[in-house]
Symmetry: D3
Subunit: 122 residues, 6 copies
């Protein structure tokens, strides 16, 4: 168990820099075990897998969260993460714009506004 | 206008091989203009843009359609397209599996079953 | 209570012809009360209200069910109903095509295929 | 009709305490009939049914609103209501965490943050 | 190309008055091409089509955005637009209330609150 | 790691009887690791937690999958599971019917039809 957690924490830091710790912190009062699952499963199990590079993984996540359109805070975290693992702003904007085709223009618009916020914060 | 359509048709063939024509064909009776929009906007405007390579574009689309979970026929078309533009089966499977984190296990499961169907057809 | 049910049943017949009875029939074994709620609330309370004509109500419903994309049987019932209350095939096709803007091309495509099935059955 | 409304209002008070009145109040200017439908149908017809205890009804609602992820105000009302009908904080947190499996981690995270807000308000 | 853009811009002004320009403005820094696509495709291609009057088009859009429930800013733009092309407040409220049947009461409630905000701003 | 898998497998058998093995089997060719994650995370981590009884967990899952409406196969598995852990048919039907309030009548209808299929198979 230790191993998955440590592997996940290292992967989360590689992807998210300091932002990952904020998620853990934010769950401390309400559901500390859930923070552990995020790290163990999402980052220790999934993101740590070979077979898909981190840039592609972040493009996939930015695409999905833009399309679903109901998780703006997490979309922003992953736009930040995408920059962090080497995606250019242009690649992120292209990914989000493409979602107009699959989830409609409002979803893409709201994704673009999230990207603008993240880019401005940097 | 001609230009967008021709550019879109060329892009669609590059991405989808023969499958693209089936979509056009399937709309002939009900909404022929809509087939034109698919080609002009989705492929002539969006997929033809520089700034994101086709492999990444297909990973984004496979991710989004898996996460949305309500467009299996189109997901299958894009799993096929992902293979066609150079994604490995492993990269596609990893992309779909990752959607468990963002859209839940049933969405990922149904995406994997769609991939299995496409891989078997080839 | 009687009143809402009778008003709903009359409205359902006005809108759906014979199709409404099939819904009631299909729920007889599993949840007969739910058939009553469909008639009382959806048709007796909502569709029976003044303030929006039946053609507009069916356009709203066809739009929403196309956009949501996870209730094809009910979408078909309402494409049929839209024809029944005086929408032309063209108006229905235009409504569905427009959903590409708000819910993406796959949702619109699947809505168009549903319309094609309903138009062919007639 | 009176009966459904009175039964619904009593049920709403049993479930929600004072919060239910706020919904009615909030609709007074824009759609007073809709407040009546909420009380008559949701509470007078559905929640008043035997066959499922109120605790289970609130767990079902918290689960669904967490999974759908696009109705945070209503999710908070029902987290409050769940506490009110006897669910423990732990049961609510477990219900929300479980939604990670069915609707993804962001939906569960946002549900947990909603629960934290409600728990802190009490 | 010019033609679609100009036709779209004219249609956007007819529908939205000054609001359309704000969308274009808001995208200038992050994705100016996307503003062009909104105008060319959504308004120049789709809304400019004959076969469905603008009132019906706005009812369809208000219905869909209420049902999807994850694009409140765009829903407000289209409630404003619906008024602008001749829908009465009552027709808009009826359209939104009807969405309770197809997307649930929370989606309809949140749509009604969006309408209240737009009506108050006028 | 072994522990989570074994705990998950035992929990899955307790909940699902033989059905769980079918999911594992169905993933063997396409993504065997994903079957492991289903067992380890969904059943070994989440369902195995104390703090919410299995009946309530299955009601939560049936509610969520009915509301999401895009995972009928998994909904059927969990209607079966709900029966298996002691929910009555009536409790399952009530849970699904209640989803009309939160996700609309079509979602509830399709959930009821799924329940009818599962009940008939037994």
């Amino acid at each position: 168990m230790e191993n998955r957690f440590e592997r996940g924490l290292a992967k989360l830091k590689e992807i998210d820099g300091a932002q990952g710790e904020r998620v853990v912190e934010s769950l401390k009062d309400i559901a500390p075990d859930f923070a552990r699952y995020v790290i163990e499963f999402a980052f220790g199990d999934i993101y740590a897998r070979p077979g898909l590079d981190l840039k592609s993984r972040e493009i996939a996540t930015v695409a999905a969260l833009t399309a679903l359109g109901n998780a703006t805070p997490q979309l922003k975290v992953h736009i930040h993460a995408a920059l962090n693992v080497g995606c250019s702003k242009e690649e992120i904007v292209e990914t989000i714009m493409q979602m107009a085709v699959y989830a409609g223009f409002p979803a893409a618009l709201n994704g673009l506004f999230a990207a603008r916020d993240v880019f401005q914060d940097k």
